[in-house]
Amino acid sequence: MNFFEVIRVVAWKDLLCEVRSRETISSMFFFALIVILVFSFSFSMDQQAAHELIAGILWVAFAFTGIIGLGKSFSAELQNDCLEYLQICPAPKGAIYLGKVAANLLFIVTAEVILFPMFVIFFNLDVVEDLPLLLLIFFLATLGLSTVGTLFSAMTVHIRAREVMLPILLLPLAVPVMIAAVEATRGALNGNPLALYRHWIDLLVVFDVVFTVVSFWLVDLILDS
């Protein structure tokens, strides 16, 4: 199998597991619903306040849901020693990693796309005009979370207290992603001109490129037992 085929097979395997078990996306979805509920208790919002706060709330919910998905990505492989076989299989580790990133990206973006209408309904948002742009922002920011998150998921799967360590390691490193995602989402939701928040999208692209390369290069050291 060549490099890209490995990526496809690993991603396809995860997708198939998910389609059959529906564990990750459903747990992410209901967790995020609870987050929405808690936020609606915490703030009493009118239309104006909702527009100011919604981007932050959205990304808090997305980040924590994402962490649930990312944690499961490798801990699910512990059953039947699948992780061992992944590590000893004669495929480039980088390709296995990229396959996992692709699967995680797909799961989290799917969850986000399902969740976003919920936010629109529960927080009485206006119908958004820039939907493709918003999707692009979701995609780029989730890619940033997935690249670092998948690396740390592979790292924390071997250690004690992994459910705690994944967010502790991931969230400080993901600060640029969170800031850029919130600012860009707020700009897009409020219908501001693109020039005002264009640099945040550029930052997301830079983060994605840098950490895809760095993680791809370092993952050999993690997935090597």
């Binding site: 071997h158 390691l169 640099h199 950490f211 760095v214």
Partner: protein, 241 residues
């Protein structure tokens, strides 16, 4: 090679510590007594002579951690890993003290203990990354795996820090611009002298603490490896010059 350098440095650690102490002493004298109070901030400005060098030293510590991690991945020498562990612990300490002194300085000048300013957020993120690094190390049982994962985390964090800095810089900034930058020095000699002295002093202090701590971690790893058996004279002779 680095292993040999570390062993060599231990011979001179007393001198390094003494030189650091001397710089700090003279620097404190110039800073607290000889230099004039600031035109706007008055006597409050004197905390700068501790705060700014501490902040620089914590960045120095992270740089040492990054270089040491690269070196560890290259050579897989356990002593280099001990050096990284020591650098991370010290850098965490220096970052925490820099944050605390900064907070004390911010209260009279900005009239707030904490504000979401770019450099404060960068340093808080640096602190969190370092704490995460130290926590990760405690949660792994196998020493080799611990060293490898920690090195990877240190490298990823080092790559992340400039991006964090730029993102929060764009987000908001309140800090006074750097006084010593590529464009030259914008402060007077009376203030610069103690500042530079304190900077050198803290760096030397860091070097001294780093050597001692590396030695300590190396010895405790030896003890762990030899658990249940007597420490052999060979290992003790290797460590103690």
């Amino acid at each position: 090679m680095l292993n040999a350098i570390i062993r060599k440095l231990q011979l001179y650690k007393g001198w390094i510590g003494a030189a650091g102490g001397l710089c700090l002493g003279v620097g404190l004298y110039f800073g607290l007594v000889a230099s004039p109070p600031d035109y706007y901030q008055g006597e409050v400005v004197r905390i700068m002579y501790v705060h700014v060098p501490l902040a620089h030293t914590s960045l120095l510590g992270y740089t040492v951690l990054f270089l040491g991690s690269c070196w560890y991945l290259w050579t897989r020498d356990p002593v280099v890993d001990n050096l990284c562990h020591a650098a991370a612990g010290l850098s965490t300490f220096f970052t925490a003290v820099a944050l605390i002194t900064g907070s004390i300085w911010a209260k009279p000048t900005w009239n707030t203990w904490w504000t979401w300013d770019a450099r404060l957020v960068s340093f808080a993120v640096l602190f969190l990354i370092l704490v995460g690094y130290l926590m990760l190390r405690t949660f792994i049982d196998d020493p080799e795996r611990e060293a490898r994962y920690a090195a990877v985390l240190a490298i990823v964090g080092f790559v992340d820090l400039p991006i964090v800095h730029f993102s929060v810089e764009w987000w908001r900034t309140l800090h006074q611009p750097l006084s010593i930058s590529m464009r030259g020095v914008s402060i007077s000699r009376e203030i610069l002298t103690p500042l530079v002295l304190m900077g050198i002093g803290f760096s030397l202090l860091f070097a001294y603490m780093l050597i001692v701590r590396t030695q300590l971690l190396y010895l405790s790893s030896l003890l762990r490896a030899k658990k249940g058996r007597l420490l052999s004279q060979v290992h003790l002779a290797k460590v103690q010059p």
